[in-house]
Structure formats: C-alpha cells, structure tokens
C-alpha cells in the first residue's frame, strides 16, 4: 500500500490492515497468491471470533434450546435469545420478539409471501417491486401473484440505468399496491434506495412495505423503525455470520396477525388431537430445532460489526468505492454500471463493470489466477442485467471492511493482465 492510500484509509476510522488480521482466510493463498477477496456481496468472510463462537457452542454448551432444565440447555437458550436482542438493537427493532430467524433473506421474503401474502393478497390486488431486484425479491412475488391472480408491477429504472425512476415510483405507488417489496441496496449496481422516503410514500396509500436488506444491513447503519417498514429481511452470512442463518424483522402486530408457515415443535404453545395453539413471537415462526450455533455466531458477528462501527464501515466502503471508480474510469474499453463518483452517497460498495470484447467469465478466470476473487454472471438479477442492460453477464467487485486500496490496485493490475491475455488495448 502506498503512502497516500494509507492516509485515506485512516480517514474513515478503519484500519483494514488490522482488520484483515482478524480474518483467518485472508492469510491464505489462492492459486499460490495471497487471497484478495472482492466478492463480499455474495458472501462475507468470517472473523476468527465468529468461527470460534460456533466451536465454543459445540464444545461447551451444545444442547437444544427451550425447555431443557439443565445448565447447558439454559446457557444455549440464553445465548440464542441474546443474539436476537443484539440483532434487534443492531437494526433498530423494538424487541427481540420481532426477530424471526430463518436461513437467509430469500427464506425471509418467501415467509412473508407465503403467510402474510397468502392471507392478504386477493385476486386483482397489486404487488409492487422494482426492476433492480434480486431474484429472491422477484420470484416469491411472481409465485404469489400467480397463485392469487394478483398483478405484479415494477418500478422502472431511470434513463441513466443508475437508480429508480422517480416518476415510475410515484405512478406505481399511487396505484395503491397491497405490498411494496423493494431492495435497500442493489446487489448489481450498489445503488442505495431512499427506503425511508419510499416507505413514507407507500404508507400514505396504506401499502405494506418489505425491505430487502441483504446488501444494506452488513454495510451501513440500519434503523427499521426510522425507515417505517413493516418487514425487513437480511442474511447473516453477508454480515460476517455463518451461512444458514438470516432474519426477518416484522412489526409485532403484523407478525401476530400472520399464520405460522411451518408446523412442528417449538412453534406451538399446546397441541391436542384436533387442534394446536401457536406459540408466542418469535417462536411461532421457528418450527423444529433452530440453527442454534448459527444464531449465536450471528450475535458474535453483530458484536464485531458494532465494535468497528457501522458509520465507519459505510465511510470506509465509500472511500474504497470512490477510489475504484476513479481508477476504473481511466481504463480504455471499461464501462462501470451505476452511479458515478459525484453520486457516491447513493452508492454502496458494489462495482459492476464490463470490458470490451472480453466475457466476464474470462475476466474472472484471469483474476482468479492472481488470487483475486470477483464474481461474473447475471448476479441473480436477470431482468435487470439481461432485460435492461441487454448484456449476458457482468463482472462485479464488492468491498467490505477488510478490503483496502491495495486490493483495488491489485484488481486494476489484473484488468491489465486480462487485456494482455486477450490482446486488447
């Protein structure tokens, strides 16, 4: 890292050199080169303390939660609930009862579509999403619309293909959809939607609002009550936690009005031969033995993020993104999608690009040979990438708290190598 980039790295209050040390995988090599991980929008790496939390649970207090009248079962139950308290505080929810643990964002959205949606969406009702959604926030609504004979509408992208069209947003909300499900941050463009303002607009029409927070909760301060949304979905594995654990936040009154999704153990208060009484929140939605170690380790991940500070993380990623955009702009034949440097406030740490005459898969393969992990493809947003951008695939770099400017420098060098291999100037 050169002198100037170190100075700027320090500005954000984050020292990635120190942070990198907390992540065992970042000491490893890939193809004989030190691993440079630029694919955190797909999944984040895990600090040692999160990995240790999983082992600690299994080595010291592995027991099923709830009802165990012995010490280690009590410890496991306490730690599991404690992790919900941490997550509730982390996203600004009122209480842990509003945090339902699920596998991931996808499951959280499906849960809402299959419970709230099945009871509240009727034939001819409108469901509103946007053109920049991840498949996880498209397909569950397509399925629901098909089941119910509802109409699925899309808020259009603006003409620059950077953010959502304000006109389309207003027109669609004025139609009074029953549900608005929208992403907080696009996983392809990094574009940040002003979900607080959008929710306010939707609320005037009496619309129920779900925010897909998969790409926001890991990277910036989130306050669900300030946003005013009814539901908020997130994935643990994108925010330093393990895979297989995610959360759905829902307002208490809504969660209470909803039918449980799965039936089984834990989700009931009592069962008779001909009936059951569902359990209190949040357990009503968590049938069967939970991902206990996942929940506990997610709590540890939240501790880690809060220690660093979400404002600091956002600031750091803004600096990295601005730096990447500046350097990428100088490369011949390279096109970056989404907001430019002037609009950095509207952009998260995700940079998708295309390189003239070279397929993203080949770009990614050459990066791989230098130990650099980036993603190539449609990024689970085929309607956006194929339908709007009219390209088959894109290359994507995404940043997190453990990245620094030298990682971006390495990526820029790798682009030079890609061009060399393909004899492109």
């Amino acid at each position: 890292m050169n002198h100037s980039s170190r100075e700027t790295d320090m500005k954000s209050g984050i020292d990635p050199t120190m942070i990198k040390k907390d992540f065992p995988i970042l000491k490893k090599k890939m193809n004989g080169k030190p691993l440079i991980y630029l694919d955190s929008a797909a999944t984040s790496q895990k600090p040692k303390e999160v990995i240790d939390a999983i082992t600690e649970y299994y080595e010291n207090y592995n027991a099923n939660i709830h009802r165990g009248i012995y010490k280690i079962a009590e410890t496991a139950t306490e730690k599991y609930i404690e992790s919900k308290r941490k997550l509730a505080r982390f996203i600004g929810a009122g209480k842990f009862e509003e945090i339902i643990y699920v596998r991931n964002t996808t499951e959280a959205i499906n849960l809402v579509a299959l419970t709230w949606g099945m009871s509240n969406i009727k034939k001819g009702d409108r469901i509103l999403i946007s053109e920049m959604e991840h498949h996880s926030n498209i397909v569950p609504w397509q399925m629901l619309a098909k089941r119910k004979g509802a109409v699925l509408d899309y808020i259009k992208m603006d003409n620059n293909m950077e953010g959502l069209s304000e006109q389309s947003l207003r027109e669609q909300i004025e139609k009074g959809p029953k549900m608005l499900a929208i992403t907080h941050v696009s996983n392809v463009l990094g574009s940040i939607n002003d979900v607080k303002r959008i929710t306010k607009l939707a609320k005037k029409e009496g619309t129920t609002v779900l925010i897909d927070g998969a790409q926001s909760a890991p990277h910036m301060p989130v306050d669900v009550r300030a946003i005013g949304c009814d539901f908020f979905a997130l994935s643990g594995h994108k925010m330093l936690g393990p895979t297989g654990i995610g959360a759905l936040y829902g307002k208490t009154e809504l969660l209470e009005s909803m039918e449980p999704l799965f039936g089984g153990g834990d989700m009931i208060k009592s069962v008779a031969f001909d009936s059951y009484t569902p359990n209190d929140l949040p357990w009503k939605f968590e049938a069967g033995t939970s991902n206990i170690e996942g929940g506990i380790a997610l709590g540890t991940a939240v501790d880690y993020l809060e220690r660093i500070g979400m404002e600091n993380i956002r600031g750091h990623e803004k600096e990295l993104t601005a730096y990447a955009l500046e350097r990428l702009a100088k490369i011949n034949g390279l096109k970056v999608f989404g907001y430019g440097r002037a609009d950095i406030e509207k952009r998260g740490g995700v940079v998708s690009f295309s390189l003239d005459k070279i397929h993203p898969h080949d770009v990614s393969a050459v990066f791989d040979s230098f130990g650099i992990a980036i993603r190539a493809g449609h990024h689970c947003a085929m309607p956006l990438v194929r339908g709007i951008f009219k390209v088959g695939a894109l290359s994507r770099m995404s940043f997190y708290l453990y990245n620094d400017k030298s990682d971006i420098d390495s990526a820029i060098d790798a682009i030079g190598s890609v061009k060399k291999v393909f004899k492109v100037k």
Partner: protein, 127 residues
C-alpha cells in the same frame, strides 16, 4: 486456476471463430444456453447421407465456449451422425487440447451439448 487455459489457439479462435453465422441452408437448428455464465449458442447443421455436411453456430459467451464451438464445428464436419453424437467431455478436452477444469467444464461442453441436441431432433424428425 492457472492461465494455461488461455492458450494461443483458444484466444485466436475466440477472436476469429470458424463457422460462425447462420447457414443459408440447413436441416436442423438447436438452441442451448448455460444459465451459470449466460452463454448461449445456436447450432445449424446440414445433413447429407447421414453425415454432417455443413455446420455452423451463433451465440455469445466466454473464450472457452466460443473457441470450443469454433473447434468443435471444424472437428465434426464430414462426421457421421452416430459418431458425432458420441462426443463427450473427454473428447471435447481432446479437441480443445486442454483441460478447462471443473469450473469451466460447462463452458467447454456447451457446443457439444447443442450439437447432440440438434442431431437428436434431426433423427426424431427423420425416423
């Protein structure tokens, strides 16, 4: 993954693919795609006396899939339908002259899969 897969021949055929474009006269066409990387291909085949008289392809994709289609279409010209249908991943590696590895296997076999699909549908129609 080492850079070996981007051998001279692969890059050269990627830049200047053989047999690219739609045949003016063909007996069967077949479209296939690879959802993982977004590659797609359409194969056109002209059959004469149970043999591949002409073959071409259209599509877009990475260097491995495009160079692979170029080399495969060269390779199968004049081949009998039954022999061409037998082309498997091992044969594709031979035609490419390299092993693209597990992550790129689907790119390498896309054209062979499309060709097999074309020949299959030709045979169904001409039973």
């Amino acid at each position: 993954m080492p850079l070996d897969i981007y051998a001279e021949e692969i890059i050269s055929q990627y830049e200047h693919p053989h047999n690219k474009g739609k045949l003016t006269k063909y007996d069967v066409e077949f479209h296939d795609e690879n959802p993982i990387c977004g590659d797609d291909i359409t194969i056109y085949v002209k059959i004469e006396k149970e043999k591949i008289a002409q073959v071409s392809f259209e599509g877009q994709g990475c260097a491995i899939s495009q160079a692979g289609a170029s080399m495969l279409t060269d390779f199968v010209k004049g081949m009998s339908i039954s022999d061409a249908k037998k082309i498997d991943y091992e044969k594709v590696k031979e035609i490419l002259g390299l092993d693209p590895g597990p992550a790129r296997m689907h790119c390498a076999v896309l054209s062979a899969k499309a060709l097999a699909g074309a020949l299959e549908s030709y045979m169904k129609a001409h039973k």
